[in-house]
C-alpha cells in the first residue's frame, strides 16, 4: 500500500477486497451473469401523463423475426396482489404517469427487441394532468407520517409569539428541484421463471442490481403470489444505488411477468439511462418556508419549517424534509410541517439522505442569513444554539461533537480569512468561504442474521448483505477478522444472495452498524460453541443483538462542512476551489473506504448545490433533460481540493460497534456550505437550488450587500 491515509482513529487501512476485480472489469454485475439462451426485454412506455390505453396493436412486432413474446395488459399474467400500484404492472389499461410501463417486447437480441418495440402502435384516451408542484398550499394533503416513520407535523411552545416578538428574524422560502439518483449502473434485472409442475411450486431466480436481496424477495413474493422461499435474488456487485435500488421497482415486476412467457428462458432487462428518469424513483422537489426568530445575541427563540413537496397520485412517498430541523438547534418554540401535492408524476422514492439533504440545505442557508442579521460569525451562531439534549425527543445525545467539528475545521480550513460578502477578489473571480452543519440519524436496523462456518482452514462469513460501492466486502471482512482474532485473509465473506441469512437493506447509512454488530454476535456465538480451535465444518449463527441502552439516547452523526467558492464576476460561473468535511461519525472501520464515502457524499451535495435539476415539462409530464448531456453531475474537472476527516469519538451508546454510519452525512451539509460560500463570494443569495449562472446574474443587480464591483456582479 502506498498512499492510504494512515491517520485512521480505529480501523487499520485495508485495500478494497473487490478492487482487483473492479479495476479489471471482471466483477460481474446483474446483467453480466452468465445464463444460457438469454432473451432481451425492451419496455413499452406510455406517452401520455394520464388516461387509458384505448387500443394497442402488437401485430407488426409479433411478426418480426427474433421476437419471442410481446407483453401488454391484455395478455400479462395476473399478479396476486395489486394494492401497491407501483408494482401492479400491466394489470389494467390505466396510465398514471408518462413513461409508465404499458408492455414489453422480448426478443433474441437487444437490437430486435428495441426495433420491435418501435413497431407497437398505441392509442390513448387522454385525461387532463397536473405534473408541476404548486407553490401555494391549496389542495395539498397532510400525510399521516413521512418517510422513516416520523410524524408529519410537530409543534412545541408558541412559535407564533416567538416570531412576532423576534429581535432578529429570517422569513424566507428555499426550494430544491426534482433530482435523480443516477447510479452509473442502470437498474438491471435478469429473470428466470420455472413454472414447476403444479400450483404453487413455480419459482423465480432474479439476478438483480439491488441494495438488498432480501428486501426484493420479501416485497415481490406477495405481488407475484410466490412463497418467499420460491424466489432467489442474487446480487454480488452493484454499480451504485444512492437509494434508487433500495426497494424493488416496476422493472422487477415487468421482467418477472415477461419471464413467464418465454418457456423458462432467461430474460435480461437493463433500463436505459433515459428510462431511469421515470421508473426508479427520484427526489421530490421541495418548497420550504423557513422562519427563524432570535434575540439580539443570536439565541434562537423560534424555529418554523413548513415544507411543500410532491408524490405520485398512485403511491405515497412523503420525504421527511423537515425532520433534521426538529433536532438540530435549541429553541423553546418550534414547529415543522409537511404538505403533499398528489400529482400525475412518476413515484418519488429514496435518494441519498432523503429528507436531511434538501431540508438541511434550507435550514443551513437560513442559519447563514440569520448569522448575518445578528452580525455574528456563522460558526458562533451555531455554537450559541447548541442544544444540551435533543429538543425533539428530550433524550440525551448518544454523542454530539458538532462544535468540535467546527473548531477543528475552522482551524484547518483557514476560516479566519473569511471576509465580508463580495469583498475578496482574485482577478476576475469573487472568492468566498461558507460553512454549514451536517447531521444524519444513526440507525441500527434489527433483523439480520449472520453465520460463521469453519471451512478448509478459513472462516466463512455468510450474510445476505450488499456492497453498492460502500466497501462492505472489505469492512465486514475486517470486522469479522478482528472479532475472530485472525488476519483478514483468514476470512471469506459471502454476501448478495438470498440463499445467505437474512440481512436488512443497505439504506439509511445503517449497513455497518447493523450487519457489523450482527457479524460480531455471530463470532461470539461461534467461539462460545466451538472455541478457538474449531473442527472443520463447525458453524454458528446469531441475530442482530439488542442494544438496550440505545433507547435512552438520541443517536445522530454530525459534521461541519466548509467550502471555498469562486464566482466569475462577468459570467456567474461558480467553481468550488476547496471543501473540507469534519465528521463526528463514531468508529471508522477502514479509513480509506470511509474517506471515499464521505468525500463522495460531499461531491453529491456539491452537485445538488450547483448542477442537478430534472426539468419537468408541464405540458407532457416528461423530464426533458433525461440524460447525462443535460442532467448535469460533476465531472473530474469540477472537483478540486476536497477532503474529509473525522473526530476520535466512538459512540457505543448508539450501538455495540460504536459506528454511526457514513454513507449520507457527507451529502447533507454540502449544498448549504457551497451556497453560503457563493453568497460570501458574490454577495448574491440564491435560495433556489441549483445555483446556476443565470440566477446569479439575474439577481446581482438587485442585491443589497452584493454591491457591484467595478461594474460586475
Amino acid at each position: 500500500m502506498t498512499d492510504l491515509p494512515a491517520s485512521g482513529i480505529h480501523g487499520h487501512p485495508h485495500r478494497r477486497i473487490d478492487g482487483r476485480a473492479k479495476v479489471l472489469g471482471t466483477a460481474t454485475y446483474a446483467f453480466e451473469q452468465d445464463v444460457d439462451a438469454a432473451t432481451y426485454l425492451y419496455p413499452l412506455q406510455a406517452t401520455i401523463a394520464r388516461g387509458r390505453v384505448r387500443r394497442i396493436d402488437t401485430s407488426a412486432a409479433e411478426a418480426l423475426d427474433g421476437v419471442v413474446a410481446v407483453l401488454t395488459h391484455l395478455n400479462a399474467p395476473r399478479l396476486a396482489d395489486t394494492d401497491d400500484k407501483e408494482y401492479a404492472v400491466c394489470q389494467s389499461d390505466e396510465v398514471a404517469f408518462r413513461g409508465q410501463f404499458i408492455g414489453a417486447v422480448v426478443a433474441e437480441t437487444q437490437e430486435v427487441a428495441r426495433h420491435a418495440a418501435s413497431l407497437v402502435s398505441v392509442e390513448y384516451d387522454e385525461q387532463p394532468h397536473q405534473v408541476v408542484l404548486p407553490d401555494d398550499d391549496k389542495g395539498l394533503d397532510d400525510p399521516d407520517e413521512v418517510n422513516a416513520g416520523y410524524p408529519s407535523d410537530t409543534a412545541q411552545g408558541d412559535v407564533g409569539a416567538a416570531l412576532a416578538d423576534a429581535e432578529r428574524l429570517v422569513d424566507e422560502t428555499y426550494s430544491t428541484p426534482m433530482e435523480h439518483n443516477n447510479p452509473m449502473e442502470p437498474h438491471t434485472s435478469v429473470a428466470i421463471w420455472s413454472a414447476g409442475s403444479g400450483d404453487g411450486d413455480a419459482s423465480l431466480l432474479l439476478y438483480d442490481s439491488t441494495q438488498g436481496v432480501h428486501s426484493v424477495r420479501r416485497t415481490l413474493a406477495p405481488v407475484l403470489g410466490l412463497k418467499p422461499e420460491r424466489i432467489r435474488v442474487v446480487s454480488p456487485y452493484v454499480g451504485g444505488g444512492f437509494g434508487s435500488k433500495g426497494l424493488p421497482h416496476a422493472h422487477n415486476v415487468l421482467v418477472a411477468l415477461a419471464a413467464q412467457l418465454t418457456g423458462g428462458r432467461p430474460v435480461k432487462f437493463a433500463l436505459t439511462r433515459q428510462q431511469m428518469f421515470t421508473l426508479v424513483g427520484y427526489r421530490t422537489p421541495t418548497i420550504q418556508r423557513i422562519r427563524l426568530a432570535a434575540d439580539g445575541d443570536g439565541r434562537l427563540t423560534g424555529i418554523c419549517h413548513d415544507v411543500i413537496e410532491q408524490t405520485s397520485r398512485i403511491k405515497e412517498f412523503a420525504e421527511q424534509t423537515a425532520t433534521a430541523t426538529r433536532m438540530m438547534y435549541a429553541a423553546p418554540n418550534r414547529r415543522t410541517s409537511h404538505r403533499l401535492a398528489r400529482l400525475d408524476v412518476p413515484i418519488p422514492s429514496w435518494m441519498r439522505a432523503p429528507g436531511e439533504a434538501p431540508g438541511m440545505a434550507g435550514l443551513e442557508m437560513a442559519m447563514d442569513e440569520l448569522a448575518e442579521r445578528c452580525s455574528l460569525d456563522p460558526i458562533e451562531l451555531r455554537v450559541r444554539n447548541e442544544p444540551d439534549i435533543d429538543p425533539d425527543s428530550g433524550k440525551r445525545w448518544s454523542g454530539r461533537h458538532l462544535v468540535e467539528c467546527f473548531r477543528t475545521g475552522a482551524e484547518r480550513f483557514g476560516w479566519a480569512d473569511r471576509g465580508e460578502p463580495g469583498a475578496r477578489r482574485d482577478g476576475d473571480w469573487l472568492v468566498g468561504l461558507g460553512v454549514a452543519s451536517s447531521t444524519y440519524p444513526a440507525f441500527t436496523m434489527r433483523g439480520s442474521t449472520a453465520e460463521i462456518a469453519y471451512v478448509d482452514g478459513r472462516y466463512v462469513v455468510r450474510i445476505g448483505a450488499s456492497d453498492i460501492g460502500t466497501g462492505t466486502w472489505t469492512t465486514l471482512s475486517q470486522i469479522a477478522a478482528e472479532a475472530l482474532g485472525v488476519e483478514v485473509e483468514g476470512v471469506r465473506l459471502e454476501l448478495g444472495d438470498t440463499d445467505l441469512p437474512m440481512a436488512t437493506v443497505e439504506g439509511g447509512s445503517s449497513g455497518m452498524a447493523s450487519w457489523g454488530s450482527t457479524v460480531v454476535a455471530a463470532v461470539d456465538a461461534f467461539r462460545d460453541r466451538h472455541g478457538k480451535d474449531p473442527e472443520e465444518g463447525a458453524t454458528a449463527r446469531a441475530e442482530t443483538p439488542e442494544h438496550a441502552d440505545r433507547k435512552k439516547y438520541a443517536t445522530h452523526s454530525f459534521g461541519a462542512i466548509f467550502a471555498e467558492a469562486a464566482v466569475h464576476a462577468d459570467t456567474g460561473e461558480v467553481r468550488v476551489r476547496r471543501m473540507l468535511g469534519v465528521f463526528d461519525v463514531g468508529r471508522i472501520v477502514n479509513p480509506p473506504t470511509a474517506r471515499s464515502q464521505l468525500v463522495g457524499g460531499m461531491i453529491f451535495g456539491l452537485s445538488m448545490a450547483l448542477f442537478e435539476h430534472s426539468v419537468m415539462d408541464a405540458r407532457t409530464g416528461h423530464v426533458v433533460n433525461h440524460d447525462f448531456a443535460e442532467y448535469h453531475i460533476p465531472v473530474n474537472a469540477d472537483i478540486a481540493d476536497l477532503d474529509a476527516i473525522w473526530l476520535d469519538h466512538e459512540d457505543t451508546n448508539a450501538n455495540s460497534l460504536g459506528a454511526k454510519g457514513i454513507g449520507e452525512i457527507g451529502t447533507v451539509g454540502s449544498p448549504a456550505a457551497v451556497a453560503n460560500a457563493v453568497y460570501n463570494a458574490s454577495g448574491v443569495r440564491i435560495r433556489d437550488l441549483p445555483i446556476t449562472p443565470d440566477k446569479l446574474i439575474a439577481q446581482s443587480g438587485s442585491t443589497k450587500t452584493g454591491s457591484p464591483q467595478s461594474g460586475h456582479m
Binding site: 498512499d3 492510504l4 478492487g19 482487483r20 472489469g25 460481474t28 442502470p186 454499480g239 460502500t470 480509506p592
Partner: protein
C-alpha cells in the same frame, strides 16, 4: 441484417457475427462475453464503455461493431499482464480510486489512453501554451482532471482517481529521468 467480423480483443483473435446495428460495446458484452467495458448511458455521455481501439481511447457504445472489422480492442481486462495488473490499475487500488466499480474499467482505459496522448504532446482545454513542447511531466492536477472529464463517476472517486494517475505520472517521469541520466 448480419455481418461477420474479426476483432482482436485483449490480444485474442475473435470472429463474431453481429447485427449491423450492434454497437462495439454490445458485441463485446453480449456476443463475446467480455463484460469489462460497461454500459452506463449508451449515448457517449458517461465514459463507462471506454476501451482502447487501435491504441486510442474511444467510446465503444458510439461505434458500430461492423465498422471496425479487423480492429484491435483492449479492455481493462486486457491491460493486465497475466496476474500482474497495469500500473494504473495498481494505483487505482492503492488510492481507493473506485467505489461501486462500474465506471472503473472505463476510467482505467481512459487513463492509459490519456497518458499516451500526453506523452505524445497533445494539448487539452486547460493547456496554456499550445505551441510549447509538452510531455508527461507537464501533466499537473488540472490537466489530469480536464483530460479525465469524459468519464463520469457518480460515487465521487475523482479526488482519488487524480491521486492515482498523479502517482503513475510521477513514477514514469522519474524512471525516464533515470534512464536519460545513464
Amino acid at each position: 441484417m448480419e455481418a461477420t467480423i474479426t476483432l482482436t480483443v485483449d490480444g485474442r483473435a475473435e470472429t463474431v457475427t453481429v447485427d449491423t446495428r450492434t454497437s462495439l460495446l454490445d458485441a463485446l458484452r453480449d456476443r463475446l462475453g467480455n463484460t469489462s467495458p460497461k454500459k452506463g448511458c449508451d449515448h457517449g455521455q458517461c465514459g463507462a464503455c471506454t476501451v482502447l481501439l487501435d491504441g486510442r481511447r474511444m467510446l465503444s457504445c458510439l461505434a458500430l461493431a461492423v465498422a471496425h472489422d479487423g480492429a484491435d480492442v483492449v479492455t481493462a481486462r486486457g491491460l493486465a499482464d497475466g496476474d500482474r495488473l497495469h500500473a494504473i490499475q495498481e494505483a487505482f487500488i492503492d488510492h481507493d480510486a473506485l467505489q461501486c466499480g462500474y465506471c472503473t474499467p472505463g476510467q482505467v482505459c481512459s487513463a492509459v489512453g490519456m497518458l499516451d496522448e500526453a506523452a505524445g504532446g497533445s494539448p487539452s482545454h486547460v493547456t496554456a501554451d499550445l505551441t510549447a513542447e509538452r510531455g508527461l511531466g507537464d501533466l499537473d492536477d488540472d490537466e489530469i482532471r480536464e483530460r479525465m472529464s469524459g468519464n463520469l463517476c457518480r460515487c465521487g472517486a475523482y479526488v482519488n482517481i487524480v491521486a492515482a494517475i498523479r502517482e503513475v505520472v510521477g513514477t514514469t517521469v522519474d524512471a525516464q529521468a533515470t534512464t536519460a541520466a545513464r
